[in-house]
Amino acid sequence: MDLQLDSLRRNRHDMARAWKNETGGKVVGLFCCDVPEELIYAAGMLPVRLMGEKEEASEADLHFPSNCCPYVKRSFDQGLKRRYDYLDGIVVPNTCDMVRAMYGTWKMNLETPYAYFLEVPQRISAQGVEFFREKLLDFKGSLEEWSGREIRDGAVEDAVEVYNLNRRLLHRAGRLRQDGLITGVECQNLAISSMVIPKQEHNRFMEAFLKEAAGRDVRPAGVRLLVSASMLDDSDLIGVLEECGGSVVADDMPAGSRYFFFPVENSSDPVAALAERYLSRIPCPRKMLPLARFDFVRQVMEGAGVQGAVIHSLKACDCHLYEYPYLKAMIEDLGLPVLFFRGEETSAEQETQRDDIEAFIEMIRG
């Protein structure tokens, strides 16, 4: 298997099919960072984050209107174009209007055998964590029923260990990024690839990759940037930023820090530990806790020497668009300039973004 970093995302469908053939296991597609993948892993299945392609969402356009989340629409479009035919199941969490809508629409239009809606509380509270724990137990039971096999606690603990290792490795990648040993593009591709290939394999891949990277010469840094974004499911925008003279040294993104930043705590009740981490610790604007959100953004910037911030929101993303004016104010209060984009993340759009990006970088350089 070719493990070149930039090909992992591109070859994800072939790789998933190969995994299925080799192991006889089930592949489960999912949206968002809210789904505790460890449970799916513990069931012996392969969890994969659903992702789209930068092409006309011609099929999905027949099912969704124009002003809605391009990421979810394009992911669904891939399903309609039969590129996700190998999926045995999908899991849809209670994240946002568009993702919720996906539950009914996917079931109605595609023949994926197993579809599960995961109730995730919309706010953080002690009762919420308890409720979420019960729902995770239900989810676990559902996976057991579907697979015909029990998922013992030991299996969940093992999964947590594997996932926590992955998180530590991705943190290490973040530090190498800050030190100029790996690029922002590489760092994001590491996070993205973690979402689509088996975790243990990814851990081995990362160990090797990071070992090689640690021995590189430090590359001269461009203007040091934070990128805060709603779902960017490829590294193209980061690529443009770095081509234009920026160095992305910190990120606040779902296909990035938000995915791996916090570990699952060791606990005698691993499902409770999952509930705690996945509910209380995911710093997504959808959780409507601005102070905790801004704490997280400050945390990812720590030690990175950020000189400017690029905030990107997909169009029609209520969660991020409401937050934007306050996030911008918070970052500007730290003395940092902000560049904002709201769009569909198409290739054509990126060309026009280039002008503004170059201007922003030139402005910071002075």
């Binding site: 769009g343 402005m363 002075g366």
Partner: protein, 253 residues
């Protein structure tokens, strides 16, 4: 020292030559009508000013097509060049609104003319030069006439400022209803100026205001923006060359 700047934009290319005394010459070519490539535009300008290529120490390029200017030793962003050009012309410039063919931008400068922040229009055509030109064509008018006609209108017919597609269909419907061209133009100019004003609100306005770009030659747009912002705008004699001027200044850095 002689330096030159070239601004390769969406529909026109402009060039400026600077010497110790200031602007030695400038030239604006329309991409469609004149059919000149950037190099030829520079040739033409040098011909007119009697300056030879060998005498030009440094050339800088800006605009969307700047990377294609192989004869330029430096390139710089539109934003940086607009700021430099505007500040050089008007050292009191603190807000610059660049009204281009496809893109409008607002820039904020500090006392040294450095860019503090900027905002670009939201991909919507309704604030742009090309839009005004297509509306002029719709009414069988030359784009150079429409500003004056709009200002002389007795009243304004309402045109949507929200979207170019809407605005176009509304203008067509007004034409069919037999509304006076001046009144339609008045409403149209208000709508376009509103769009530009909305852009300027993304940042906090500080005087003095400089307007640049082709659309700054449209007196109705200028007047409307002045009214909305409550200031008198500074408009260069040829607002189309500010980017190229900024590039020529960049060349000297």
């Amino acid at each position: 020292m002689i330096s030159a700047g070239i601004d390769v934009g969406a529909v026109s290319t402009s060039a400026v030559v600077l010497d110790e005394n200031g602007i030695a010459g400038s030239f604006v070519a329309s991409s469609f009508e004149d059919g000149l490539d950037p190099r030829q535009v520079m040739d033409r300008l040098l011909e007119r000013t009697g300056i030879k290529w060998e005498d030009v120490k440094v050339v800088a390029a800006t605009g969307r097509g700047r990377s294609g200017c192989k004869f330029a030793q430096k390139t710089s962003s539109d934003v940086a060049c607009q700021a430099r050009g505007a500040y050089w012309l008007f050292p009191s410039a603190r807000t610059v609104i660049n009204l281009g063919a496809e893109v409008s931008r607002v820039l904020y400068l500090d006392e040294q003319g450095r860019v503090l922040s900027f905002a670009t229009n939201d991909k919507c055509a309704a604030g742009s030069g090309l839009f005004l030109e297509s509306m002029a064509n719709l009414m069988d008018l030359d784009v150079s006439e429409i500003g004056g006609l709009a200002l002389n209108a007795g009243s304004a017919v309402e045109v949507s400022s929200r979207c170019a597609v809407f605005a176009e269909s509304e203008v067509i419907s007004h034409i069919h209803k037999g509304e006076l061209k001046e009144n339609i133009l008045s409403g149209l100019h208000t709508a376009v100026a509103d769009r530009i004003f909305e852009l300027s609100c993304k940042l906090t306005f500080r005087p003095n205001l400089v307007l640049t770009g082709g659309v700054a030659r449209n007196i109705a747009i200028v007047k409307h923006i002045e009214q909305r912002l409550g200031v008198t705008a500074l408009v260069p004699p040829d607002p189309r060359i500010v980017g190229a001027l900024g590039a020529a200044l960049t060349a000297r850095l």
